[in-house]
Amino acid sequence: MGLLSFRGGVHPPHFKEPTSRHETLKAAGPKVVTIPLSQHIGAPCDPIVKAGDNVKVGQKIGEATSFVSSPIHSSVSGVVKAVKKCLTPSGEALCVIIESDGLDTLHENVIPKGDIKTLSGEEIKNIIKEAGIVGMGGAGFPTHVKLSPPPENKIDTIVLNGAECEPYLTADHRLMLENPQDIIYGLKAMMKVLDVKKAYIGIEDNKPDAIKSMKKALKDEGDIEVVGLHTKYPQGAEKQLIYACTKREVPSGGLPMAVGVVVNNVATAAAIANAIKTGMPLIERICTVTGKGIKEPKNLLIKVGTSIKEIIDQCGGYSGNIGKIIMGGPMMGISQYTDEIPSTKTTSGVLVFTPEQATLPKPKNCIKCGRCVEICPAFLQPLYISAYSLNNMFETSEKYNALDCIECGSCSFICPSKRPLLQSIRVAKREIIAKKRKTK
C-alpha cells in the first residue's frame, strides 16, 4: 500500500535523531509538584483539597465543573502545601502544590476496572472521564467529549494519530515501539464506546520501526489498519490526517465528527488502556527533552506537575547559553520566559534552543513568490490575510478565510522573506472572533 498524504505542507528538518533511539526512562520522583487545575480545553477544575490535606497517588484533587472539562489527580503522595495561582505553560492558573513524601502510596480507587470485553461502552466512557484523560497530542481536548458525539453524527471510523510530524519530538515514536499493546487496547476501548468497526493508525514513514511494531502487535486484527503516511508537516493535523486516511474533507468550520471520524493521539489511547487495566488516572506521560541547549537529550516518563527546571536538570542541564525554551515542538509549541513552570498532561516535549537558533531573521518585503499559497494545507492565501491583518483590515482578512487557518505555521516556515505570516494571521483571527462575539 502506497503512502497516504494531504495536499500542501512543508518539509522541515526532522532533528529526531538525538532521542529517537533512546528508550523511555522514568524520571526521578519530584519532591514538589505544582499541578495546574486547567490542563485541558474547557472549564478549569474546582480544587477539592486544601492546604494541609494528605493526598495519595491517583487521588482526585480537582473536580470537573462542566461537561467540557476533565478532572485532575495527584501524581504523588504527600501533603498539599497550597492551592494558589502559579505560572503554567499556558499562562497563570490555579494550581495545587503538593509536597511528596517519596512513598508514592496508591489511592484506594486505583484498582483494575475490568476488561473491555465485559465492560459496557458507557462504563468505559465513564472510566475515561473519571481518569481525566484528554487529548495528549497538544490541544488537550477532553477525550470523553470526543467520544460523546451528538446523535445526528454517526461515527464510523476512528483515526489514531501516530504521525508525530513535529520536528524534534519522539515521545509518540517511543511509545509505539515500547508499548504497542496498550495503544491497541485503548483504541479498542474507544471503538467499543463509539460502536465503530473501522480504525486507522496513521504513522509517518520516517518511523519505519514504529510502523513495524504496530503492525506486529496487530497481526490478527482485520478492522484496525496501520497506514504509512508520507513524512510531511503537518501530517498529524487533525483534518489533514483524516483526509490522508479516509479521503474525507472535514467541512470548513466543522469538527471531524461531521464526516463520521474521531481522531485521537496514540498516547491518549495508551492512557485509556492504563486507566482501564490498572485504574490509574492520567498523572504521567512521555516527554521528549531535546534541542541543542540540552546536554543529554532524553525521552522521560514524567509526572504531571514536575517542574521543567527539574526535568532539564535530569537531562544533564543546559549546554551553554540558551535562547529559547519551547513547550512542544518547534512548529506549534509555546515559548516560555522561565523554566519554573510545571509539566502538564499535554507536555509532549521540552525543546531548548541556543541563542543563535532562537534569534529570528528580520522580515523583508513580501516578494509574492507564492510559496505560502502553494504549501498551505488549508488552501489559504497567507500573504493576503497577513497583509490585510497588518493594515488592520480584519474584515478583508476574514473574506480571505482567515478563520480556516489551522495555525500550523508552514507559511511562516517557508517564507523566503521571513515574514511573520502566521503571527499576523493569528491577530486577525482573534480580532474577527472578538468582533463576532460582540455582535452576537
Partner: protein
C-alpha cells in the same frame, strides 16, 4: 540560566531559503546565457552587461541612502534586474543606453512604487519598453555574432528569407538578436536549474511556450517548421523562463499562474503574427503583469473543506 530567553509566537524555525538565495539562484541560472552572449557578441556584450548591472546597483543603493533605508543591494535583486535588462539589449547599444535603462528600471519602476516586492511590472521589461519607444533605431541595430561588427536582422524578421538561420543555429544561439535571448540551449539549461532548485515551477514557462507553439502552428498554416522556428527565435525562451516567472509581477495562485501564462502566449502570438512589431514577448508579459492583481483576485483557491 542567567541570560534572557526569547519569547515569540510559533513557529520557531524558518527554512534556509531567503530572498538573496532565491535571487542568487536566478543569477546563477542566467550564467550559461551570459557566457553564450559574451561568446557570441564579444566585448559589446561585456560592456552592456557591466554598465547595466553597475547602474542598477548604484541606483538602488543611492535611492535607499537618500530615503535613509537599509541598503539592500546584497539581496541580488538589483543585480538580477541589471542583468535581465542587459539581456534584452543589442550588443551594439551605446554605453549610456543600459545606464538609462537600469536607472529607469530601478528608480521609476521599482523604488518609486516602494522597492522590492512592490513593482507592478517587471522592471527590466518596463525599461526595455521605454528604451525601445525612445531610441527605436539604437534598440534594433542588431549585429551578427563574431568579432567584426556586421549589422543584421533578427531571425523573426528574416523568416522565410535566404539568410534565415537553421533551427540548430537558433537553438544554440549563433545569430543576431539581444545579448541574452539568442541561445535557447543556455536558457533552457538555466531553467532546468531553477526548477531543480525549486525557485520556479515549470507551470508558467511550459504553458507559455506551449501556447505560442500551438497558436503559431494553427495560425501559421499548420507548418511544424514555422512553429519550432517561432518557439526558438526571439525572446520567447528568456521571457517565458525568466521574465514571466518573476514573482512580484505575476499571480501567486496556481490557477492564476496558468491564466497568466496562457494570456502571455496568446498576446505574444497575436503581436508576432499580426502586430506591427516582429516581437511581442515583452509587451505580452507587461500587459499580463498589469492584470495580475485582478487575476489573483478571481482565482482564490477553494479552501480545504469549503462547502460549495
Amino acid at each position: 540560566m542567567n541570560n534572557k530567553l526569547i519569547v515569540s509566537s510559533s513557529p520557531h524555525i524558518r527554512s534556509n531559503e531567503t530572498i538573496s538565495s532565491v535571487m542568487r539562484d536566478v543569477v546563477i541560472a542566467l550564467l550559461p546565457a551570459t557566457l553564450a552572449g559574451i561568446y557570441y557578441f564579444r566585448m559589446g556584450a561585456v560592456r552592456v552587461i557591466l554598465f547595466a548591472v553597475l547602474a542598477a546597483i548604484i541606483t538602488e543603493a543611492g535611492i535607499q541612502k537618500l530615503r535613509k533605508q537599509e541598503v539592500s543591494i546584497n539581496d541580488w535583486s538589483a543585480i538580477l534586474t541589471g542583468l535581465l535588462l542587459a539581456f534584452n539589449l543589442p550588443a551594439s547599444a551605446p554605453w549610456w543606453m543600459p545606464v538609462v535603462g537600469s536607472v529607469f528600471a530601478i528608480a521609476v519602476v521599482k523604488q518609486m512604487f516602494g522597492g522590492l516586492g512592490h513593482n507592478f511590472m517587471n522592471p527590466a521589461l518596463a525599461a526595455r519598453a521605454m528604451l525601445l519607444a525612445s531610441w527605436p533605431v539604437e534598440m534594433t541595430s542588431w549585429i551578427n555574432p563574431g568579432s567584426d561588427v556586421v549589422s543584421t536582422a533578427t531571425p523573426l524578421v528574416m523568416f522565410g528569407g535566404a539568410e534565415a538561420p537553421s533551427l540548430f543555429t537558433l537553438f544554440i544561439g549563433n545569430h543576431g538578436g539581444c545579448i541574452g535571448e539568442t541561445s535557447a540551449l543556455a536558457l533552457i539549461l538555466g531553467g532546468i536549474y531553477l526548477v531543480y532548485r525549486g525557485v520556479i515551477t515549470p507551470r508558467v514557462p511550459v504553458i507559455y511556450i506551449s501556447t505560442v507553439a500551438v497558436l503559431t502552428f494553427l495560425m501559421g498554416g499548420f507548418d511544424p517548421y514555422f512553429m519550432i522556428y517561432q518557439v526558438l527565435a526571439g525572446g520567447l525562451m528568456i521571457g517565458a523562463i525568466y521574465m514571466a516567472t518573476d514573482y512580484v509581477s505575476s499571480p501567486v495562485t496556481p490557477k492564476g499562474q496558468i491564466i497568466f501564462a496562457l494570456g502571455c502566449g496568446v498576446i505574444t502570438s497575436i503581436i508576432r503574427l499580426y502586430g506591427g512589431y516582429p516581437e511581442g514577448v515583452s509587451y505580452s508579459i507587461l500587459l499580463m503583469n498589469v492584470v495580475s492583481p485582478l487575476i489573483d483576485k478571481y482565482t482564490s483557491p477553494r479552501v480545504f473543506g469549503e462547502v460549495k
